[in-house]
């Protein structure tokens, strides 16, 4: 679901002049109707967790079940928006609004609340101390009623970002409900900044750069990062394998093999050999031997000698396996 959401979202840049001033209205009180929030079935793994509960739940029964829930709360009764960097291009944000915050907006905006668009406003705040109105630029993303998180394509490596969760009213006014932390996306290529003391000729750096990515001595700087991504060589975690597995050529298959069980019994204190090699008896004098049986003829003399060495018996099964 969330993957679709992030692909689906294409960003619209809205001309700043249409928008009037940015007003930050926050936290007002009461009215009705619940907030849009994640339902339990939206939490990945929830269904599966129920299925495996018996296997992995650890009964902690010193306290009544009801006070130790089995599922995490859907919200923590807080007004909060958090912004994180996924890679040089993409950000991730999630948020939570208290019911009373939403009710406050409803009561102060009246009908306008229901006609307003739900907007994430993404500010480029590179190299500035953001005060709400001095962003280098910004763009808006309209999100749907049920979203509580979003992946944002900034297309802007090496810049700093801040996001407002807000409402776009019919008359074009933007109301900020929550403001995120500021994050910086990394560069997706080498920096243009060099320091004098550690200068290096461009062509030498280009060679070192390519070699650092394992691309050899003559890889061009542009595109080296894309090349590097294609190589893989990423960490593989505890449960997944870095070793290649052969793919099944076809889905249908069959295996057949043979093993031979030789078993018997004698006096518990007797000495027994099979094909000339001594074997151990169980306390009751029985024994069982199990062999992989290749295509062959096997002559299997089983010999028992009594404890006083006065008597012996030999029985010799002969087994042939032939596979066609």
């Amino acid at each position: 679901m969330k993957i679709l959401r992030k692909i689906k979202d294409k960003l619209k840049k809205i001309v700043p002049s249409r928008l009037g001033s940015l007003k930050a209205k926050k936290k007002k009180a009461s009215a009705k109707s619940p907030a849009a929030c994640v339902t339990t079935k939206d939490i990945p793994g929830f269904q599966e967790t129920i299925a495996v509960n018996t296997k992995f739940s650890h009964p902690e029964d010193t306290r009544p079940r009801s006070s130790m829930p089995n599922e995490l709360p859907v919200s923590y009764d807080q007004d909060k928006i958090v912004l994180q960097v996924r890679d040089p291009r993409w950000l991730h944000t999630y948020w939570e609004l208290r019911n009373q915050t939403i009710e406050g907006l409803k009561s102060s905006l009246g009908d306008e609340f229901y006609r307003a668009k739900k907007i994430l406003r993404v500010y480029d705040v590179t190299n500035i101390i953001f005060n709400g109105s001095n962003a280098n630029s910004f763009f808006d993303i309209q999100y749907n009623d049920f979203a509580t998180s979003w992946y944002i394509d900034t297309a802007g490596p090496g810049r700093s970002w801040c996001v407002d969760l807000g409402l776009m009213l019919i008359d074009g006014r933007f109301i900020t409900i929550l403001r995120s932390n500021v994050v910086s996306t990394p560069l997706d290529g080498p920096s243009w900044i060099t320091d004098e003391e550690w200068m290096i000729p461009e062509d030498v750096f280009a060679r070192l750069y390519g070699m650092g990515f394992g691309l050899g001595k003559s890889s061009p700087v542009g595109g080296a990062w894309q090349q590097r991504l294609k190589q893989g060589l990423f960490s593989s975690g505890v449960s997944s394998s870095p070793v290649r597995k052969a793919v099944k050529e076809r889905s249908f298959w069959m295996k057949v093999d043979c093993e031979l069980i030789v078993y018997g019994a004698t006096e518990p204190d007797a000495k027994v050999t099979v094909q000339g090699q001594p074997i151990n008896l169980r306390p009751d004098g029985t024994f069982t031997l199990r062999y992989y049986l290749p295509d062959s003829k096997q002559v299997i003399p089983v010999k028992a000698v009594s404890a006083d060495k006065l008597e012996e018996r030999t029985i010799t099964p002969i087994v042939t396996r032939e596979t066609r």
Partner: protein, 517 residues
């Protein structure tokens, strides 16, 4: 080399599948590595290797319950290999391999017992001899870049780890392997506070740093403002070992990982050695070599594999000599080449890996003079003057940043983790000098938070297969944390319940909740 496993310990279950991760790693990776080190010391071969032992791994290796369970596990394997020697009597190729496993497993048990069931002592021994440099990691391998909005938690991950390291090895750690190599500018300040002098980044961490690193990844840099050194990963040497396509481990003479008697043999026979529910699992006895790209596999021939490992070690050394020679000319000074790998690649996934490492150490020490092995501490002592830059945000995870741990299947965890971090800071502020039961509750709250933060859970969720355990662990630790938080706030800590989870999640006995600020 990065040695890490998530904390998996379930005293409440007799058999717990995921505990096998530890047991397999002991038999297949840690004991074989220790055996390589022992051999080198015995033969007076000078060598250097830098290795993470993550705090969770150290905690499990030192845990008595898991030690006892390992002995049970290895004894079962020895029993199985004995049966296998008999069963394969009429199949010479296989019987020899069954004997190989019998000796391997017996050796693992003997080694384990020789170090009083605690392999941490073995690693410590080689560190004390100056051959092995053990570095630390995040306390529970939390992925720091996705904790950047609550740096108190990054600080707790680092401080708990460094203090734990000191209690085990009797000195402060000089370096750290940032979990998943995940670095965010600014976290170097937290490392400095903990007295850590260096860390590692993936190549682009240095190459995309500002200003440009003059020597690429072939010399360390100091972080601007903190002076903590950062070493960058070299991908050329990584590729030779790690690449699933052109890497050494794919050689047709090497052992095939995916054919195990746990899956291949008749059910009733193998049943005592797989999961009690009858779920077939890997036992570690594998009879085939990779053979080719198809499904038809030939029996493994140990001598051939050994020859290949020697050849590959020679090839690796030759390539490093060429690489270093070329770089030396280009840079006008000797380069350092950082080749980090997951420890579990060696032995567990790549059966011949420890043997390859053994050949490599011996060849580098005896066969040439162009290159030598060095630890980061030694390098910094010899080369104290390095460029100052701000390395770039980076990781060695899929696509090089956070995506592996932040995608549709696992992004739901962060609102819970970050809220818990905020609550932990709130508790630390509210109860600065807690004693008695309250202190126990606060310490356990931090343990639960740290355990929930393990990047391993998000990683497994990200792979999308066998996710139920990772979901359960994430939720269990967060639920326990939330309950402790609420109990503390309402002044109603239940000691019985607290004792129960202290017993289950028993790592970091000396933890101090006040590091979370």
């Amino acid at each position: 080399m990065h040695g890490h496993l998530p904390f998996v310990r379930h005293p409440e279950h007799e058999n717990f599948l995921e505990e096998d991760w530890l047991y397999e790693a002991i038999t297949e990776t840690y004991v074989p590595l220790i055996s390589v080190f022992e051999g080198l010391v015995r033969d007076n071969i000078d060598f250097r290797i830098t290795m993470t032992l993550s705090p969770t791994l150290i905690s499990m290796l030192s845990d008595q319950l898991l030690q006892e369970r390992y002995l049970k596990h290895i004894n079962k394997l020895i029993e199985l290999s004995e049966k296998e020697m008999e069963r394969t009597k009429w199949q010479e190729d296989f019987r020899r391999l069954a004997e190989m496993y019998f000796h391997k497993f017996s050796y693992a048990r003997d080694t384990f017992q020789k170090y009083n069931n605690n392999l941490v002592y073995a690693f410590k021994k080689f560190q004390d001899l100056g051959k092995l440099e053990i570095i630390t990691c995040g306390a529970t391998h939390g992925f720091f870049p996705l904790m950047d909005v609550c740096r108190e938690s990054v600080r707790a991950q680092v401080k708990v780890a460094a203090d734990h390291y000191e209690s085990v090895f009797g000195r402060r750690p000089s370096g750290i392997w940032l979990p998943e190599c995940g670095f965010c500018p600014g976290h170097d300040e937290i490392l400095r506070e903990a007295g850590i002098r260096y860390f590692f980044t993936d190549s682009h961490g240095l190459l995309h740093g500002t200003p440009r690193p003059k020597y690429g990844v072939f010399a360390p840099v100091y972080c601007k403002g903190t002076g903590v050194a950062a070493f960058g990963r070299d991908l050329e040497s990584s590729k030779q070992v790690w690449s699933s396509i052109e890497g050494y481990p794919g050689d047709y003479n090497y052992r095939e990982f995916y054919r195990d008697v746990g899956f291949d043999l008749e059910f009733d026979y193998i049943k005592p050695y797989i999961h009690p529910d009858g779920v077939r699992i890997n036992t570690g006895i594998k009879y085939y070599r990779i053979t080719g790209t198809g499904n038809h596999k030939q029996p493994y021939v140990a001598d051939w594999a050994r020859d290949r490992a020697a050849e590959h070690a020679g090839n690796f050394m030759f390539n490093r000599q060429k690489q270093a020679g070329y770089l030396n000319e280009l840079m006008g000074k000797p380069p350092i080449i950082i080749s980090p790998y997951d420890a579990e690649l060696f032995g567990h996934w790549w059966y011949e890996g420890p043997m390859w490492l053994d050949f490599l150490f011996r060849k580098v020490a005896c066969d040439q003079k162009e290159i030598r092995m060095i630890t980061p501490s030694e390098y910094l002592a010899e080369n104290p003057r390095n460029q100052v830059i701000t390395p770039s945000f980076s990781s060695w995870g899929y696509k090089g940043y956070s995506e592996m741990w932040l995608q549709g299947t696992n992004d739901w965890i962060y609102r819970h983790l970050h809220t818990a971090s905020g609550r932990m800071s709130e508790l630390t502020r509210s109860y600065p000098r807690a004693q008695g039961l309250l202190r126990r509750a606060l310490n356990q709250a931090l343990r639960e938070l740290l355990l929930a933060q393990s990047s391993d859970w998000a990683f497994i969720l990200g792979t999308g297969t066998h996710t139920s355990y990772a979901v359960r662990r994430t939720k269990d630790h967060l639920l326990r944390f939330n309950r402790i938080y609420e109990d503390i706030k309402s002044n109603s800590i239940n000691e019985n319940w607290l004792s129960d989870i202290e017993y289950k999640d028993n790592l970091f006995p000396n933890i101090d909740y006040q590091v979370h600020q």
